[in-house]
C-alpha cells in the first residue's frame, strides 16, 4: 500500500526525495559503512592502487621521480617484448603448460568424483576421499622438495625401478622435455582430491529417480554414469572450467619458479616467472609491468570469450 502511495507522487519532487531518501537510508546505517571503512580502504589501496601504478607500463619508471614524474614511453616496452627472442618461448610455455593442464588435469577430479560416487561402501568412499585430500595441504616448497628426492637420479625410488628393469636413470628435473609432465603430474597428485569435492557434492544432488529410471530402461552402470551423472553435474563443470580459465595465465607460478633451473629453462620459462626474475630481481620495472599487463589482458580476454561461449552453448555462465 505504501509503495502505491509513493508512486502517486508527481515526478519532479519524487526524484529529489529519492536522492534524499537514499542519503537518509545511508545515514541511518552509518555504522555499517563504518565497518566497511577499513576493508574498502584496503581494496582501494591494495587492489586499485596497483591498477593506478600500472601506468608505468607506458612510462620509463624512475623510482627517484615516482610514478607521475617519470616520462611517457608509449608502447615501447610492449614492442621491445614482442620483438625479443624469448617472446615466443615465453608465450608458448605459458599457453602450453596451462592448456595441457586444462586438458589433462581438469577432467581427472571429475573422474575421481564419478568413481567415488560408484563406491557402495560408505566407509571406503570416505577413506578414499580423506586420503586424496591430504596432499592439498602440503606447501609448494615441500611438494617440490618431495619431487626432488622422489625423482632423484641417484636414490629416488622411480629411478631405482627404472634401473631394476635395466634402464638408465633419468634426470627428470633437469631435462626440459620432462618439465611439463612432472609439473602437471604432481599438480594432479596434489589437487585431484580437493578439486573433486565440489563434483562429489553436485553428484549427491542428482535425483536418484533418474538412476532408477535409467536402470529400468536397461542402462548399464557405465551408461548411467554417461547419461545421468555427467549431465547432472554439467553446469558445475562449466562454471569451474570458466573459473579455471579465469586464472589461466597465472596457474602454478610459484611452483614453476621453484622447479625452474638453468637446465630446464627452455620449457619452464613462463611469462610470470620472467616478470619476477627480470622485474623484482633485476629492477626493470616498467618493462616487466608491461609484460604483466600483456599477461593480464590475454587472461581477461580468454575469460570473457569462454564465458560468452558457455552462455551461448550451455546457458551456464558466470554472469
Amino acid at each position: 500500500m505504501k509503495s502505491a502511495q509513493a508512486e502517486a507522487i508527481p515526478a519532479l519532487p519524487r526524484k529529489s526525495s529519492r536522492g534524499s531518501r537514499l542519503l537518509k537510508q545511508m545515514a541511518k546505517r552509518y555504522d555499517l559503512y563504518l565497518m566497511l571503512l577499513l576493508p574498502i580502504a584496503w581494496y582501494l589501496i591494495f587492489h586499485y592502487g596497483p591498477l593506478y601504478g600500472l601506468q608505468i607500463a607506458f612510462k620509463n619508471f624512475n623510482p627517484a621521480k615516482g610514478i607521475l614524474g617519470s616520462e611517457w614511453e608509449g608502447f615501447g616496452h610492449f614492442e621491445r617484448f614482442f620483438d625479443s627472442y624469448y617472446f615466443w618461448r615465453l608465450l608458448w610455455n605459458t599457453l602450453s603448460i596451462n592448456l595441457f593442464s586444462l586438458l589433462i588435469a581438469f577432467p581427472i577430479p571429475i573422474m575421481l568424483a564419478l568413481l567415488v560416487n560408484e563406491i557402495r561402501s560408505k566407509r571406503f568412499s570416505k577413506l578414499l576421499q580423506n586420503i586424496t585430500y591430504i596432499p592439498h595441504f602440503i606447501s609448494v616448497v615441500v611438494i617440490v622438495g618431495i619431487l626432488n628426492v622422489f625423482l632423484s637420479p641417484t636414490s629416488g625410488p622411480i629411478n631405482m625401478v627404472i634401473e631394476a628393469f635395466g634402464g638408465e636413470p633419468v634426470r627428470f628435473l633437469e631435462e626440459a622435455g620432462w618439465f611439463k609432465t612432472i609439473f602437471i603430474g604432481s599438480n594432479i597428485w596434489q589437487n585431484m582430491g580437493w578439486q573433486s569435492i565440489i563434483y562429489i557434492a553436485a553428484l549427491s544432488g542428482v535425483n536418484p529417480q533418474l538412476y532408477e529410471a535409467a536402470k529400468m530402461d536397461g542402462a548399464t552402470r557405465l551408461q548411467r554414469i554417461w547419461h545421468v551423472s555427467i549431465p547432472g553435474i554439467a553446469p558445475v563443470i562449466v562454471i569451474l572450467l570458466i573459473l579455471d580459465i579465469g586464472h589461466f595465465m597465472n596457474i602454478g607460478f610459484e611452483k614453476i619458479l621453484l622447479m625452474q633451473n638453468n637446465l630446464n629453462l627452455e620449457s619452464s620459462d613462463v611469462i610470470s616467472t620472467f616478470v619476477y626474475t627480470t622485474g623484482v630481481l633485476k629492477g626493470e620495472y616498467s618493462y616487466t609491468a608491461a609484460i604483466g599487463l600483456f599477461n593480464s589482458v590475454i587472461n581477461l580476454v580468454l575469460l570473457l570469450l569462454v564465458n560468452r561461449i558457455a552462455r551461448k552453448t550451455s546457458e551456464t555462465s558466470l554472469w
Partner: protein
Amino acid sequence: MSKQQTIRGASDDKVFDAIVYAIAAVIIVIVLYPLLYIVGASFSDPARVISGEVWLLPKGFTMDAYTNILHDDRIWTGYRNTIFYTVVGTVINILMTLLAAYPLSRPDLPLRNGIMVLITLTMFFGGGLIPTYLLVKDLGMVDTMWALIVPGAIATYNLIVMRTYFQSSIPWELQEAAHIDGCSNWRLLISIILPLSKPILAVMVLFYAVGHWNSFFNALIYIRDEALHPLQLVLREILLISQTAMTDSSSVVGMEDKILLAESIKFAVIIVSSLPVLVMYPFVQRHFVKGVMIGSVKG
C-alpha cells in the same frame, strides 16, 4: 528369460564393482606412497637412502636427522616466525573479512551491489606483480612483517563465501527483530551474528591459517632479513637451494659427510614442517569440505 537377465546384470555389476575398487585402491597407493616413503627415509640411515635401498620401511633406523634439526637455528627461527605470522595474520584476516562480509550481506544496505562489483572485479583483473611490489615498497613494508600480513589481508573468495553464509544461514527476520528492539548494528554483529557463525568462522580460520603456514612467495620478494624468514623460505633453502650448491662443488674433499647430512635432514625437515597441518587435518577436514561447498553455492 528375465531372470537370466537379472543374473547376468548382477554379475556385470560385480565386475563393475571390482573394477571400481581396484582403481580406488591404485589411487590410494599413488597418493600415499610418496608420503610414506618420505617418512620411512626420514628414519633411515642416510647412506642407505642415498644408495637407493629404502623403499618404504626405514633401513638402519635412526633419529639422527631429527636431532640434527633440533640443533638447527634456522628451523627454530623459521618456525617461530611462521607461527607469529600465522597467528597475527589470521586474526587480521578474520577481522577484515568479517567487517567486509557482514555489511555486504545486508539486503538493506544502499549501494551494496556497487561495492560488491568493485570487489569482485579484483578477482579477474589486477595490476600484477610489479605495481603491487612497488606499492608495498613505497609503503615502507619491505623487510617488515607487515609485508606478509597487510597486502593479503582479505582473500576475495573467502569474503564471498562468508557473505553467502550470512545471507543464506542467518534469518533476516532475526536481524530485523533485533533492530526493532533497538539493537545497534555493532551489537547485532557481535552478539547475534558471530555466535551463529561459528562453523563459517572455523572454516575461514583454517583456510587463512593454512595459507599463511604454506606461503613463501611474499616472503621471497619482500623479506631479505634472515631473522624474519618464515619456515617456508628456510625450507626452500634446505630442500632446494643447498642441493644445487652441493652438486656444483661436489669435488671438495670431505663433502661426502656433508651431503649425507644434508640429504638426511631433507626428509625430516619435510615431516617436521608439514606435521602441524597434517596433525590438525583429521580434526578439521570436515570443516574444509563445508567451506568449499558454501563457496560453490555462489560460485
